[in-house]
Symmetry: C2
Subunit: 245 residues, 2 copies
């Protein structure tokens, strides 16, 4: 069987890469991915063909990986976090329809919602929604609709791609929408450069969140009405206190 793995590497350092991800990379003859992700796994790539590409041209990149696999070389496409969450797995599966001889297997990884959440405390301990603020592939009105709906139903929110140079005001816009349903005092958290040099976290409030530095390597958490700041940690209760102690 001709095989292509879509591998999630976790947030950055090797400390969160699963044995399954390591095994998929070791089994592969060809490793594809952004240069910055390949650099994370350089020692695993020795003796393999490595195809690095720049930050765009996702379709070309995925097609190239499929062609390598179709040529009989077991191939791994690596992504940071989880390959299925805003990663390459879905595009590989879509384009893979043209390569029926290639079996595509996704290998799950620790996405930034989980790794950033752990650094902050336990913000995602109750129902939560994950939303990307990037409008490169999604119309902004749909993003706004999702923010409003999730806030109104008191989901904890985890925001990916909270801001870029071209979208400097999107985080502010998002906070304004959430604030229609949630208190300005809602506990919020940020995690920067998870698993990389410069890793840090901060707690703040919904009203102050737009003042924070944020870029494509930042993950933002907006609590629900129950989320608390406890000794510098962001904690969403599951509700045990309502059951009596």
């Amino acid at each position: 069987m001709k095989k292509l793995y879509a591998v999630g590497l976790g947030p950055g350092d090797g400390q969160t890469m699963t044995p399954q991800a390591v095994a998929a990379i070791e089994e592969s003859q060809v490793i594809c991915g952004y240069t910055v992700y390949i650099d994370l796994i350089r020692p695993l790539c020795q003796g393999k063909e490595v195809i690095t590409t720049a930050m765009t041209r996702e379709i070309d990149r995925c097609r190239m990986a499929l062609e390598q696999a179709a040529a009989g070389k077991t191939t791994a496409m690596v992504c940071s976090g989880d390959a299925g969450v805003y990663g390459m797995a879905s595009l590989l599966l879509e384009l893979g329809q043209q390569f029926p001889e290639v079996e595509i297997e996704a290998v799950a990884g620790v996405t930034a919602a989980l790794s950033g959440g752990a650094l902050l405390g336990a913000p995602l301990a109750h129902d939560f929604a994950v939303i990307s603020l990037s409008d490169l592939l999604t119309p902004w009105p749909l993003i706004e609709k999702r923010l409003a709906a999730a806030a109104q139903a008191d989901f904890v929110l985890c925001l990916y791609n909270p801001r870029s140079k071209k979208r400097a005001d999107y985080l502010k816009k998002a906070c304004d929408i959430v604030m229609r349903s949630q208190s300005p005092e809602t506990v919020c958290g940020l995690a920067w450069n998870i698993g990389r040099p410069g890793q840090r976290t901060k707690l703040t409030t919904l009203a102050r969140l737009p003042e924070e530095e944020a870029d494509m390597f930042t993950t933002v958490f907006i609590g629900n009405s129950q989320t608390q700041a406890l000794s510098g940690r962001m904690v969403t209760p599951r509700g045990y206190e309502n059951k009596g102690r």
Copy 2:
């Protein structure tokens, strides 16, 4: 520093446990958790004090772990999936307020949304909401409100705890709510016993989803309006096709 780790083990087999989780367990003198989770990591527990508990009494269990750590023994509380997602991390942090000398560190793990998603294909490749259908700790009307809001805003949904003996009709009720906004033909998927004996997946439609077997070891995925079934895989496109090829 007195230390307590809240460790996510991933879905079951060792293949998704991160090196960070293994290191936290190895560093610990005391390991706490449900018997079924401890069994997953038996070889790592040799020579350690192991405290297993039954499936309820979460508050007692967490307090016991905090007491062990406060007594100077580095302790790990293990959970399946991610300790922060419907796990013990938030309760530990809450109760930890009474144990200020104990530093609590959460260690992220691959939660069922990610591991089940990878088995099914790439259902969570666009904005998604995670909702537990268990009303043990959450009033059912709030769960209904979240289901309705998320479906109306076209989130992909990932449902935890979709059904139990006491709540045999909850998955049906949830599907009825989602169907107010989404087509009965919406692509859905189920993952049973992820990473355990009996692991399997199935694709179905929203109309047929309530007929499926589901229990507390089942994770349910309901697609958004764009989700497709492609060669037996559940795939939510990110939207590259709209950008031209």
